[in-house]
């Protein structure tokens, strides 16, 4: 089958502690006020850290994902026939779910057979089939469990399959809702910021904080989008995925793997680094990781890395783990579309290991045709998504 043109983003929806929908997400990240509050969803007694960015009245992961997929599909103008030919790529934690318990009786949409009696939804990977059925998506399904690059890898794969001509349209959906098991693990691993703030690239940063994130993005081939008259929110102009080959859990200190991912994305788009005018960084607020990412940007952009606008919105909405790549892709698309680059919260002072132009205090007006959304994960996995303005 013939290779196709740039892959279009034609619909999206996101839920986070900043609220429901793209407007709430954009408003929240542009305001730049961190959404971290004491955790009420479960007991944090005995934990070193007791805050996270959670959305009140959140449903189960299955319910929130289904709603996000449905809303993204409607935004993309997908009718029943369109949905029947649409693939679903799902990014979520691969283990047994430990989710907020909905304060409602069991409903017909709950899936029987799960260990919890069905109220929390089906186990992975049956969740993908359940969501496809609920949302009328009849194409192939895939489930990505690649930790914090799950969603961004799914987007890269979806774009590659569309570009290759294997698929016309893919819904990428991703979800993480703050729950007790992962919270306890991150607390035990001393990964959470003990001062209750995420301070990406800043001196004095102490770690990450978790946050809710559920998102769905509809990707479509350029010719099909044009034929349907679908709105183009942005393009996925390039993508790159690499491994550090360095350590099971720590990134390469020189950021070499992440730099190769960015170079791969640029090469695929046929663009020089100078075309990139904004970076939505992975930047978790973790001392070692942020320095590695700064080094990666230095590798790719050279001296310009210090003048390239960078922000890290995990400082506002928290780290949504497997869903982080999709939540931040939505932020990046919104920032490009509105010409406003979101600020980074938590800044204290410059860190000489992170010599970057970190946007802080207020949004920065900008008009740039291309932006990068970066993610990295345990296992030395790195991804770069190059987003083009519509």
């Amino acid at each position: 089958m013939a290779e196709r043109g740039p892959v279009r983003i034609i619909g999206m929806h996101a839920v986070s502690a900043l609220g429901r929908g793209a407007d709430a997400l954009l408003s929240g990240v542009l305001t730049g006020a961190p959404a971290f509050r004491p955790v009420r969803r479960f007991d944090t007694t005995g934990r070193r850290v007791t805050v996270a960015a959670t959305l009140p009245d959140v449903g189960t992961l299955a319910d929130e994902l289904a709603d996000a997929i449905d809303r993204a599909g409607r935004a993309a103008g997908l009718d029943r026939a369109d949905r029947a030919g649409t693939a679903l790529f799902l990014a979520t934690h691969g283990g047994p779910h430990s989710l907020p318990v909905p304060e409602r009786p069991a409903e017909p949409s709950d899936v029987p057979g799960a260990a919890d009696g069905g109220r929390l939804g089906p186990p992975v990977p049956a969740l993908a089939g359940h969501l496809a059925d609920r949302c009328g998506l009849g194409g192939p399904t895939r489930v990505y469990t690649s930790a914090c690059v799950s969603a961004s890898t799914a987007v890269a794969d979806a774009a590659a399959l569309i570009r290759r001509g294997d698929l016309e349209r893919v819904v990428v959906a991703a979800g993480y809702l703050v729950e007790p098991d992962q919270y306890a693990l991150f607390d035990a691993g001393r990964a959470l910021a003990t001062d209750g703030a995420v301070r990406p690239f800043s001196a004095g940063r102490k770690g990450l904080l978790l946050g809710d994130g559920v998102a769905a993005v509809v990707l479509e081939s350029a010719d099909v989008a044009a034929r349907r008259g679908a709105p183009t929110l942005a393009t996925v102009a390039g993508w790159g995925r690499t491994g550090d080959a360095y350590h099971a859990c720590q990134p390469h200190p020189g950021g070499l793997g992440l730099a190769r991912a960015v170079e791969s994305a640029l090469r695929r788009a046929g663009l020089p680094p100078a075309e990139v005018g904004y970076v939505n960084a992975n930047a978790t607020g973790t001392p070692f990781s942020d320095a590695s990412e700064a080094a990666a940007l230095g590798c790719v952009f050279g001296a310009r890395a210090g003048r390239l606008p960078v922000s890290a919105t995990k400082s506002v909405h928290g780290h949504a783990l497997e869903a982080s790549g999709l939540l931040e892709l939505v932020v990046t698309v919104l920032a490009l579309g509105h010409g406003k680059l979101p600020p980074t919260a938590g800044w204290l002072a410059p860190d000489p290991d992170c010599p970057l132009d970190v946007i802080r205090d207020a949004p920065r007006p900008a008009s740039t045709p291309y932006a990068l959304s970066l993610n990295a994960a345990f296992g030395g996995a790195n991804t770069a998504l190059l987003v083009g303005a519509p």
Binding site: S146, A147, D157, G189
Partner: protein
């Protein structure tokens, strides 16, 4: 999306257990679960058959594609029980809580610098893994791929795993 359309050659293949195997040896930094030792053992056996002691030279762009429906179910169950009882989990459980960690362990040991991708299969695990490997190679981010298929036994026993190195056949 065509599962298993790969035209790539099988450069090496291994299973655990094979004749004479007992439980796979432990892996430093990974505790409590048979999942991680099994991944490492089958990957080591497969890569050794192709490359001897390793590691591979830089820029080999070898992807690691780990396919497992449930991942480390024993570790996850331990965490669930500990948290439900109000206890504290050990810090090592954090570092091994996602399949990426052990995939990255293998990648670091052998110098595999291609993408690291973990999938929970919705259909035939090998076909899905081969399709992912094919896509990564076709797309150019990988030149070859180490595919690891693993499902721990439901009773907590080590279970079985297969590792396949997929790539273009060249003279060594």
């Amino acid at each position: 999306m065509t599962a298993g359309r790969s035209a790539w050659a099988v450069l090496a293949e291994a299973r655990w257990p094979e004749d004479g195997d007992g439980a796979p040896p432990g892996v430093p930094g990974f505790v409590h679960s048979p999942f991680h030792p099994l991944v490492v053992a089958v990957a080591e056996r497969c890569l050794t058959r192709r490359y001897g002691a390793g590691p591979l030279p830089a820029d080999n762009r070898t992807a690691v594609v780990l396919v497992s429906a449930g991942g480390d179910t024993a570790g996850a169950a331990h965490v669930r029980q500990t948290v439900a009882a109000g206890g504290r989990v050990g810090p090592l459980f954090f570092f091994q809580s996602v399949p990426n960690s052990v995939a990255g362990h293998v990648a670091a040991r052998w110098g595999l610098d291609g993408p690291v991708v973990c999938l929970s299969p919705t259909g035939d695990p090998r076909a899905e893994g081969e399709a992912e490997a094919d896509l990564l190679c076709h797309d150019g981010d990988a030149a070859q791929a180490l595919l690891i298929l693993i499902e721990p036994a439901p009773d907590g026993a080590p279970g079985e795993a297969t590792a396949v190195l997929l790539g273009e056949e060249t003279r060594q």
